[in-house]
Assembly symmetry: C2
Homo-oligomer: 318 residues x 2
C-alpha cells in the first residue's frame, strides 16, 4: 500500500530500496513498472537514504530507527513505538504539520482510528475549543492484517455452509459478529487501541485538556473504519458552522444529506483517500454537543497515505 501510494502521488524518488528480514530476501517489489529485489535489513542499511519508512512492528522500529537516523535518514514510523515519546512529533500533515519544523530524525505516524478522527476534530477545536470527545468505533478487519482478512472470509464461508468455525486471529468469531476488543486489555479496563485514541488525539491536537473516552470495536467489514463521535465544545457552535468548517478542511469530505440516503459507509468508500463525515447533528443531550459519523479507508489515510504525506511535508519544508 505504501509503495503504491508513493507511485500514485509521484513522490520524487531516485532510489527505492525495499528492506525486510532474511526470509524475504530477493522477494520482488514492483515500483513504476520496475521489479526491485528486497534486501535484508541491517544496521548499516541506511547510508545515503533520505527517508526510511518503517512499518514492520514496534520491535523493528525500536532496533533500527536509531541506526537509520545516525546514518542521516529521517525515519517515518508507522508503528506505535515512538508515538508518545516527548521528542518525537506525531503528525497528521493537514492537522499539525507545523511540528515538523523541529524533530530529531524520527516522525511518528498515528494510529489509523486516531488519524481519521483528528482530521474532523481539528477545525472545530480551532474554532470553539474541544471540551470532551466520546467515540465508539466500527473497525474493519484489515487493520489487523492479511490473516484477519482471510479469517473473516473463511469464517463467513464456514457459517454459510454450516461448517465448523475456525478461529486463529480474533478471540471470538468475527463473521456475523462484533467484538468489543482491539489489541490487548490494560489494567484500567481499556484496550491498548482505546488508549492510543485517547492519548494520540490529545498529542496531535496539542491540548492535554481535551477529555477523551473511547470504545473500539471490530466489525465484519474488510476495509474502512467508521466512528460514532460525540463532541462537546467549549463555546457553542451550530451544526451549519461545523459543516462549513469541515467542508473547508483539506482531506475532509462532508457527505451529509441523510434524507436522500447520503452518508458515508465503509464499503462505499474503500480505496478513497479522504476522510468522510456525515450524520452531523446537534447532540440532544447537551447544549454544546455535536454528533457525527466519520468514515475513512484505514489502509490509506490511517497508514500508507499519511506516512507519504509526512514525507511530502518534510520535502516541502526542506
Amino acid at each position: 500500500e505504501m509503495i503504491k501510494t508513493l507511485e500514485e502521488r509521484k513522490f520524487p524518488i531516485q532510489n527505492l530500496i525495499p528492506l525486510a528480514s532474511e526470509r524475504s530476501e530477493g522477494a520482488p517489489v514492483y515500483f513504476k513498472e520496475k521489479c526491485i529485489r528486497t534486501k535484508v535489513l541491517k544496521s548499516d542499511s541506511f547510508k545515503d537514504i533520505d527517508f526510511a519508512l518503517f512499518s514492520a512492528g514496534s520491535s523493528i522500529s525500536k532496533e533500527f530507527a536509531g541506526p537509520a537516523t545516525e546514518q542521516g535518514a529521517v525515519v517515518i514510523d508507522n508503528t506505535s513505538f515512538f508515538r508518545m515519546h516527548k521528542d518525537v512529533p506525531l503528525v497528521v500533515p493537514e492537522v499539525n504539520s507545523s511540528v515538523l519544523k523541529s524533530h530529531n530524525g524520527i516522525i511518528a505516524n498515528p494510529n489509523c482510528s486516531t488519524a481519521q478522527m483528528v482530521m474532523a476534530l481539528k477545525p472545530i477545536h480551532d474554532e470553539v475549543g474541544l471540551e470532551r470527545v466520546i467515540v465508539s468505533t466500527y473497525q474493519s478487519v484489515s487493520g489487523a492484517g492479511k490473516e484477519a482478512i482471510l479469517e473473516l472470509e473463511n469464517q463467513t464461508r464456514q457459517n454459510l455452509n454450516g461448517n465448523q468455525i475456525e478461529k486463529e486471529v480474533f478471540s471470538h468469531e468475527i463473521a456475523f459478529n462484533v467484538i468489543p476488543q482491539i489489541d490487548v486489555f490494560l489494567d484500567n479496563g481499556y484496550t491498548k487501541e482505546e488508549m492510543k485514541m485517547i492519548e494520540e488525539t490529545k498529542k496531535i491536537l496539542g491540548d492535554d485538556n481535551i477529555q477523551v473516552s473511547a470504545t473500539t470495536v471490530r466489525v465484519p467489514v474488510f476495509v474502512g473504519h467508521s466512528e460514532s463521535v460525540n463532541i462537546q465544545t467549549k463555546k457553542p457552535i451550530s451544526v451549519e458552522k461545523v459543516r462549513s468548517l469541515l467542508s473547508s478542511m483539506d482531506g475532509v469530505n462532508v457527505m451529509d444529506d441523510p434524507v436522500n440516503g447520503i452518508f458515508p459507509t465503509p464499503k462505499d468508500l474503500a480505496g478513497k483517500d479522504d476522510v468522510y463525515v456525515g450524520r452531523i447533528r446537534r447532540d440532544l443531550s447537551h447544549p454544546n454537543g455535536i454528533e457525527m459519523w466519520i468514515v475513512s479507508d484505514n489502509l490509506r489515510k490511517g497508514a500508507a497515505l499519511n506516512a507519504v504525506q509526512i514525507a511530502e511535508a518534510l520535502v516541502s519544508v526542506g
Copy 2:
C-alpha cells in the same frame, strides 16, 4: 417467537387464537404440539379474550387495539404506535412493572434497543441518578425482519462469489458494511429509531430530566443487538458498585473479565433471554462517567420475551 416464548414459559393458556390477514387464513400455527389454524382478524375477534398480543405493524394496532379493549381484552402492543401516548404504560417488567397497576387496557412494549439498555440503566439510576446517556448501537438485521436476514445472506454470497449485489431492504449494502441508518430520517437529523431510544428511555425510567443522545447503526450480524453506552451519573459511583448493582438486577448478566476474553458478543448470546453487560469501566473523560457494553438477543428481551413478561406481570398483579 412469541408463541414459542409462551410455550417455553408455560404461560397459562386455555385457548390460543392466532389472528392475521385474509391472506394467511387457515395457516397452521403449532402450540404445545397441537396445530391451530389462523383466523382472519376482525373488529369482533376479541370476545372472551384476556390478552391480545399485537405485533403486526402500527396501522393494525391503531385500527384494532380499540375494539379489542372494548371487548374486554388487555392489549400488549409490540409496535411503536402507542408507546409515547400519555395514558399508555410503556413497560419493561423488571424495570417499571409498578406502572401496570393503572392502565386503560393497552400496554406498550418498547423498542428492542431501548429495552435492553434500560435494563442496565435502571439499578444505576436508582442508586445515584442518571444525568446523561450517550449510546452508539450495533444492531443486527433481524430487527428489520425476515427479508433483511435473507438480504444479508444473499449479499454475503454475492460478495464472496464476485456476483452483482442486489439491494432491496437496506438503502446501502449491508454485507461487509455498516449503515448508520435505522428507520427513516426526521427533520432534526436523527432517525426514528434514535428518537425512540431517546424518548422511550426517559418514559420507562420515569424521568424526563435524563439527557439522552443516540446513534443507531445496522451491522452485518443476524441476531443480537450490541450497544456502546456512556453514562454520566449525578453522584459519583465506582465501577465495582456498578458491577454489583448489575449483578443483582433480575434479567441482567454481568460478563466482564476482558483479560480472559470474557465480554458479551451478539453471536455468542443469540437465543439467550438475559441482557449481558461487559466492558464496565470508568469513563476517562468525566469523573462521574461510566462506559459499558450491552448485548442482548433482540428477538427475545427486545420483543417476544418482554411482551410475554408483561402478560405474566399482569396475571400476577391480578
